[in-house]
């Protein structure tokens, strides 16, 4: 389908927070597409989102509707915020349904510090974090791994960090897959991917990646009981949020297999509407090789975030170690860009499905065996990174999320392209304006900063409100930014 042929009249409203494009709206659709959004958010979505999600419905083996989360915006292949369940026996795996930045994700730390304790030294803290945590192009990484260490890290993820003194057991416990997804096979990874990744492990990167110092204000805690279980138990508590992924390594894994799959579409008998959706049968050698390599990239992203939080923890201890009983704990670490085999109920039957999530967060409900025991009463924490001006949000998974494949939003979602944002905002002026509002920014690129201005994003409250009202999780608290470092 060409982007100019999508007609918004084809979108049918099911209820206040759910819309559907029926399976007969366009040739080749195997299932309907469903978009979770308020009327305002769906109006704000660019037409390319609908074209891209229609393309997803044509994928071989798709089971149940292709889904768009309320923060959906146009990307490539899948829209960002796109989700698809694929039957692993008859269906495919597609790098375009996962994204280049495999396991881009968010880690949240809770500290025992209050903002009153940190405020007198906030500038020093933000400057020290900016100096110590590699960010931006050509920054290098916290570690430089040898070939054999890299092989080990691809399999062990955050556990590699733990074994080498870069973390605590609870960091792994409170990470999806315990920071070490199974099925990672380094032999499926190219030399090129290793070379791109070797020097970048333990670095933020650029674009929308960041480390943010945040404050949990008492007035912003919506569900105090759940917040307390997540480690938020005092007024003005200082939190740290990190958003980054698998860096050049994951991008090269995706590029290698995208190129391979694109050259094999005829052999596989596929004629997809967008080459970025190039895919392989999941059970084929090519499909399994990509799955193994993607799992390596998932682990490298876990490791990347683990190294950054370990460095952050060291800095906090150096600066505030005299504060009695200082603790810095991982609340949770969530993935955005993955394909995982999960058990879901479809048409009343439990099935193992390959869930492609691109710019979307898993949100398992209370009772799930795949979340830490201490969160089985609350549901999985979901960490929603807002824009650097609007703050972020913590949600938790709910049973009502089943039709949405226990998936929810991952961020605010863009409303303005990067170039448009640069026409509207000036990076240096933005930095000054934010400082006057109590948010200190340090950046490796003022141009990149302008692209990430709050005005380039949807209103985060609209996004999480839609997600909650659509049954895709429950809001626990919002977090206010006071310092941000960007690549």
């Amino acid at each position: 389908m060409k982007s100019d042929t999508m007609n918004r009249n084809q979108i049918k409203q099911i209820n206040d927070y759910l819309y559907e494009i029926p399976a007969d709206a366009s040739p080749g659709m195997k299932v309907p597409a469903r978009i979770y959004a308020s009327e305002k958010l769906i109006r704000e979505m660019d037409t390319a989102v609908f074209t891209q999600i229609i393309n997803v419905t044509t994928l071989p083996g798709i089971t149940g509707p292709a889904l768009c989360m309320p923060d959906a915006h146009s990307g490539y292949g899948f829209p960002i915020g796109g989700v698809a369940a694929i039957d692993p026996d008859s269906g495919i795996i597609s790098p375009g349904g996962i994204g280049f930045d495999i396991n881009c994700g968010v880690r949240l730390l809770s500290t025992s510090l209050t903002y009153n304790e940190v405020r007198p030294r906030i500038k020093e803290l933000v400057d020290t974090l900016f100096r110590s945590i590699p960010s931006g192009v050509g920054s290098g990484g916290i570690v430089k791994l040898t070939d054999s260490q890299f092989d080990e890290a691809m399999v062990k993820g955050s556990k590699w960090a733990l074994e080498h003194g870069f973390g605590t057991p609870s960091d792994c416990e409170f990470t999806e897959e315990n920071g070490m997804i199974r099925g990672a096979d380094p032999s499926a990874v190219s030399q090129r991917a290793r070379e791109r990744g070797a020097g970048q492990i333990g670095s933020l990167g650029s674009g929308n990646h960041y480390l943010e110092v945040q404050v949990a204000r008492k007035g912003n805690i919506i569900d105090p009981a759940t917040a307390a279980i997540f480690g938020i138990n005092k007024d003005d508590q200082v939190m740290i949020m990190i958003h980054t992924g698998s860096r050049g390594f994951g991008h090269q894994v995706a590029t290698d297999y995208l190129q391979l799959f694109a050259s094999q579409q005829k052999r596989f008998g596929y004629a997809l509407p967008d080459r970025e959706l190039a895919c392989a049968p999941f059970r084929s050698k090519e499909g399994q090789d990509y799955f193994s390599a993607m799992n390596c990239a998932i682990n490298i992203a876990f490791l990347n975030r683990q190294l950054i939080i370990h460095k952050t923890r060291e800095i906090l201890h150096e600066m505030f170690g005299r504060t009695r009983g200082l603790t810095v704990n991982t609340v949770y670490d969530v993935c955005h860009n993955t394909a995982k085999l999960e058990k879901h109920t479809v048409n009343g039957k439990e099935k193992i499905l390959l869930i492609h999530r691109k710019g979307a967060t898993r949100a398992f409900p209370p009772g799930s065996r795949d979340i830490p025991e201490s969160y089985r009463r609350t549901g999985q924490p979901v960490l929603v990174g807002g824009s650097m001006e609007s703050g972020s949000c913590i949600m938790c998974g709910t049973e009502s999320g089943s039709p949405g494949l226990y998936t929810t939003v991952h961020g605010s979602g863009r409303v303005m392209s990067r170039h448009e944002a640069k026409r509207h905002f000036n990076g240096r002026e933005l930095q000054k304006r934010m400082e006057s509002h109590g948010i200190l920014i340090r950046t490796a690129s003022f141009s990149g900063l302008a692209e990430e201005a709050g005005g380039a994003y949807k209103n985060m409250n609209d996004v999480v409100d839609s997600a909650e009202k659509a049954g895709l999780g429950k809001v626990v608290a919002t977090l206010e930014p006071v310092g941000n470092i960007k690549g």
Partner: protein
């Protein structure tokens, strides 16, 4: 610069339309475009190091895709900022061949300032075609 930004393809990434008088010229302009979107000022790259290579692909657009990926690969793996110096694109027995020399230098974060990192070339809407004697490519960069 022989390129324009396309606004209705993607909001999260960067879509561009690039032109060249010849196929080789298109490849040169595409390499310069990628580096121009990555950096504030590509004239700050000194041509101190040279990298040569040869790529082959039956599909012209996939050859173009591979060529652009070279700039990203050298940036990440060797911290090299490179620009196209000479590019030759030919066809032999149905296979497209690109022989290139790229020139540049190691990243110096004091002198080189960056817009946003370009981390991949996507296949989304990728087109390489000839129209009225000009060669045109549509490309989405992942950032």
């Amino acid at each position: 610069m022989d390129y324009e930004i396309i606004h209705d393809i993607t909001s999260a990434d960067i879509a561009v339309r690039i032109k060249g008088d010849t196929l080789a010229g298109l490849f040169v302009n595409a390499g310069n475009t990628l580096m121009s979107e990555l950096m504030d000022d590509i004239t700050m790259i000194n041509r101190e190091v040279r990298v040569t290579g040869e790529l082959r692909n039956d599909e012209l657009d996939m050859l173009y895709f591979e060529f652009l990926n070279e700039f990203i690969f050298y940036k990440d793996s060797q911290d090299l900022l490179l620009l196209p110096e000479t590019v030759e694109v030919t066809k032999k027995s149905g296979t497209n061949i690109c022989r290139y020399t790229l020139a540049g230098e190691q990243i110096d974060r004091e002198r080189h300032t960056f817009r946003v990192d370009i981390k991949a070339v996507t296949l989304h809407g990728l087109k390489v075609y000839e129209r009225n004697g000009n060669f045109i490519a549509v490309t989405v960069f992942d950032v």
